[in-house]
């Protein structure tokens, strides 16, 4: 009697556990599809749903293939809509734009009435186009592979630059499309190098101006070292603040990198200037660097990119991004090991990540950031009109996550502790209302809602139902 009842109790127990794990009871295959499409992309569009349903191994099989598709996409040129013309521009063209704008501003400075409105400045226009591309790419799987868009977001944020800095602004689009995107599933070291040499980063963290102590500048004055980039390269891009370096290492790395500067006429925008380089001996993390010019910097970056502290940091950040704010330590350990074993091959790390049980575990919840939310609403309601696109950008600015708008090099935080703030849900409700007004309620989303949510929504007038789907608790998580 007692024995016969045990399995029932066990069953009941696991049912309760499942309830506790996820407040939103969905069919397991729907939950997996939601997770795959919302985390490896931004939202399950009808086409994505079909692809997942058609895959013989379901969401897991689709996810594994998606890594390979994103890799292939990242190695081809990004698709850019015709109306975002500046995204096709070269680096010399961006420098020319910056020069012309500064010249024009100097001319009108005396006469404040002549001053153009900020949004009419050419560099602001190109920054707006770069931000528009990001939002289109995250919401339209025909324009951009969803995982490629996700990883572009992740790595841009890891190597953050700020649109508010005038000298960075004209280079943003190029930085996204040519420094970040092609490398999101390549070797980590190549990604670090691409950002290190790009004018957006060279200007953002002042590396372009950092020279050996005592070198004379273009106008004759003595110039010298600037530690800004060297510090953040170790603290944020590679080792992490606990990565075991000291203030002395920051200075030595800054010396190693002297001479890495911008070049307005080069296609790459980068130039190594031997005259500005510190030829003395340096020691970084115990390793000595002789007078080897540009090679010192490349070797220093290789040393940092391959460091075990870097492997742990990248593994932790990817796990936080794709799995949970406090990800299981075992997963982080396995990803760090894969990072090291593969020599920093990000594709190998991502393969491991999407195959991990932890990725699919329903207890691992993630609350959407404002960017996740805006992209998923846009994806759910169809390709946005230009006015809608601007509305999404305004929503992000108001919600505290403007595109390319984080001032400091640490990038946006992504955890619920930051974003599940009192204002978050009321703002999202406003946004949901605006976007559900003239597009049909996304009916294909109803299967992702719990019976409870579904039932409550049907009590409301049809005109409100679309908005409530987009503002539902299920839609706030990915």
């Amino acid at each position: 009697m007692v024995q016969a009842r045990l399995p029932v109790i066990r069953l009941l127990g696991s049912a309760l556990l499942a309830l506790g794990a996820s407040a939103h009871a969905q069919a397991p295959e729907d939950a997996a599809a939601w997770r795959a499409a919302s985390r490896l992309g931004y939202a399950p569009t009808p086409a994505l749903m079909q692809a997942i349903a058609a895959h013989p191994r379901g969401a897991r099989g689709w996810a594994a293939d998606e890594v390979e598709r994103a890799f292939a996409a990242s190695r081809e040129a990004a698709r850019t809509p015709a109306h975002l013309a500046t995204l096709q521009g070269s680096i010399p063209a961006a420098f020319a734009e910056l020069r012309a704008e500064r010249e024009a501003l100097r001319r009108v400075r005396a006469d404040s009435d002549m001053r153009p409105a900020p949004q009419e400045l050419p560099t602001r226009r190109s920054a707006l186009e770069a931000a528009s591309w990001r939002v289109l790419a995250c919401s339209d799987p025909e324009l951009e592979n969803p995982l490629a868009a996700r990883l572009t977001e992740f790595w841009f944020n890891h190597f953050n630059v700020f649109a508010g800095k005038g000298s960075v602004r004209p280079f943003l689009g190029h930085y996204v499309l040519h420094a970040i995107r092609p490398n999101v599933l390549g070797r980590f070291e190549d990604l670090v190098l691409a950002t290190a040499r790009h004018p957006a980063m060279l200007f953002y963290l002042d590396q372009a101006q950092s020279v050996a102590e005592g070198v004379t500048g273009p106008f004759g004055g003595a110039r010298g070292l600037n530690e800004n980039y060297a510090r953040e390269l170790m603290e944020l891009h590679t080792l992490g603040a606990e990565g075991g370096y000291a203030q002395g290492d920051v200075r030595e790395l800054a010396r190693i990198l002297t001479g890495w500067t911008s070049d307005p006429s080069a296609e790459s925008g980068f130039r190594f200037a031997p005259r500005l380089h510190d030829r003395g001996e340096k020691t970084l993390l115990g390793r000595r660097f002789g007078a080897e010019g540009e090679r010192e910097g490349r070797e220093a970056i290789a040393l940092l990119a391959g460091h075990s502290a870097t492997a742990r940091r990248v593994a932790l950040r990817l796990s936080q991004w794709f799995v949970a704010d406090a990800p299981p330590a075992a997963l982080v350990g396995r990803l760090a090991a894969e990072f090291q074993a593969s020599g920093g091959e990000l594709r190998a790390v991502m393969r491991k990540l999407v195959a991990a049980e932890e990725f699919w575990d329903e207890r691992q919840q993630l609350f959407k950031t404002p960017y996740d939310y805006a992209c998923s609403v846009l994806a759910a309601t169809g390709r946005p009109e230009p006015e809608r696109l601007l509305q999404a950008l305004r929503f992000l600015a108001g919600a505290g996550q403007p595109v390319h708008g984080w001032q400091t090099p640490d990038g946006y935080k992504t955890d619920a502790r930051t974003w599940l703030a009192p204002e978050a849900l009321t703002r999202r409700a406003d946004f949901a209302l605006a976007f559900s007004r003239d597009s049909a309620p996304p009916d294909h989303y109803r299967r992702f809602l719990s019976p409870r949510t579904r039932e409550r929504i049907t009590q409301e007038p049809a005109a409100l139902q679309g908005m409530l789907v987009l503002a539902s608790p299920e839609f706030m998580h990915k």
Binding site: R223, N226, N228, A416, E423, D430, S450, L464, M467, L468
Partner: protein
């Protein structure tokens, strides 16, 4: 009947009246007396040596060239003399009356005992009040509010601008208000039908339900408070810089919501590694905006017990770097503004800029723990019992060298 006897009788009468008062009232007396506290956080580490220029120090000229503020000589466009050692950046001229009126005091070499030069670690330490600890922890303003009795502590905290600043985060919820005109807009939750439907939808998820409740409440209260206060305060003024606008919003909220006693504001853009500028330029523009914001705050919060703190995660290098800017340093100037502040003078130790007195030969040293400065303000300005300081700033010691920072009552 002599005067003494009359006084005695009066005291007895009021004691009797007190005895009749319900016990609850006595229990609910706020721990923080009277005034309001506003913390202004300058994120990115501002250059305190340019704000309060050690003009008479012979090393200042050696260390600073492109960023130097010329010594005060009474003319325009140079530093403004404060005393025999320090002078004010000319862009800060709007706060000069506060110094002259004796309500602005400065601790020129304060900071965190933890030596990190990472903005993000250091800000975390300042906001949690726990230098050296990088783990999750509630903000010290939230813990301060939680020392208040139930019924009051739930409505103490308010922040403008940031989505969820650490310093306000913790057990108690803060009223967090976006910067700009959208704060005065109720939005879709103003529609009762939508509000009720959403509340039902979120009811099954505790975190969402709580955030929605708080957000709705804050949105509706804020919209109402700002609609009346802001139109008056705006007074046809043109678009102000972000911090000034946020200061105006914060004072409007704290004036109409009398329970809101602990306010927070922040401003970015202080990380001047290159082309910092001197009398004019990048930093001067930032300081100008700060000065206007402080004037705005002070105008709105001018009760005797009100106090404004201006702080930043660390200072910048004493010497200029090779790109006409300054790098991450250690000690920095911390400001206090309020009527109970012993203002018009510098407080605490100052050892000058001679090479041997600099931390690692490069930065202003930290001569006073920032928590000891704040502790002085909390105890002497707000009457916080000293015994409660340990709850707030574990590990920090009372710093008697700062005992003159606030006037004795």
């Amino acid at each position: 009947m002599n005067l003494a006897r009359r006084a005695l009788l009066r005291a007895a009468a009021s004691a009797g009246a007190l005895a009749f008062a319900p016990r609850l009232v006595a229990q609910a007396a706020p721990m923080l007396e009277g005034g309001r506290l506003v913390v202004v956080f300058l994120r990115g580490a501002y250059d305190g040596l340019s704000a309060f220029v050690p003009w008479a120090d012979p090393d200042y000229e050696r260390l600073r060239q492109a960023t130097r503020i010329p010594a005060p000589d009474g003319s325009e466009g140079v530093a403004i003399r404060l005393d025999e050692r320090f002078a004010l950046h000319p862009a800060l001229a709007p706060v000069l009356p506060m110094w002259r009126d004796g309500i602005l005091a400065v601790v020129p070499a304060a900071g965190s005992p933890d030596p990190t030069r990472s903005h993000f670690e250091a800000q975390h330490h300042w906001e949690t009040g726990m230098p050296g600890r990088n783990s999750e922890a509630p903000g010290w303003m939230n813990r301060l509010a939680s020392l208040e009795p139930a019924g009051l502590r739930e409505q103490r905290l308010v922040g403008v601008g940031e989505a969820n600043p650490r310093i306000l985060a913790g057990e108690l919820r803060a009223r967090l208000v976006p910067r700009g005109p959208q704060a005065a807009n109720q939005g879709v939750v103003g529609n009762e039908r939508v509000r009720l439907a959403l509340a039902d939808l979120y009811a099954a998820d505790g975190r969402l339900a709580e955030a929605f409740r708080a957000g709705t409440y804050s949105r509706m209260e804020t919209a109402r408070d700002l609609a009346t206060e802001m139109t008056r305060a705006d007074n046809g003024a043109g678009p102000a810089a972000g911090l000034v606008q946020a200061a105006r919003q914060l004072t409007a909220l704290m004036r109409s919501g009398r329970q809101l006693r602990l306010g927070f504001l922040s401003a970015g853009g202080w990380d001047t590694h290159a082309n910092q500028g001197g009398v004019q330029g990048q930093l001067a523009n930032q300081l100008g905006g700060l000065a206007r914001a402080l004037v705005e705050l002070r105008a709105g919060l001018s009760q005797p017990g009100d106090l404004i703190l201006v702080l930043s995660e660390f200072g910048r290098t004493a010497a200029e770097n090779g790109t006409r800017g300054t790098d991450h340093g250690r000690g920095n100037a911390l400001w206090l503004i309020g009527e109970r502040v012993a203002g018009g003078r510098m407080h605490g130790r100052w050892e000058g800029l001679a090479h041997g007195n600099l931390n690692e030969g490069r930065d202003l040293p930290v001569l006073h723990d920032f928590r000891a400065v704040i502790a002085q303000a909390l105890v002497r300005n707000f009457g916080l019992p000293e015994s409660r300081l340990a709850d707030l700033f574990a590990g920090a010691a009372w710093d008697a060298r700062l005992d003159g920072l606030l006037k004795r009552a």
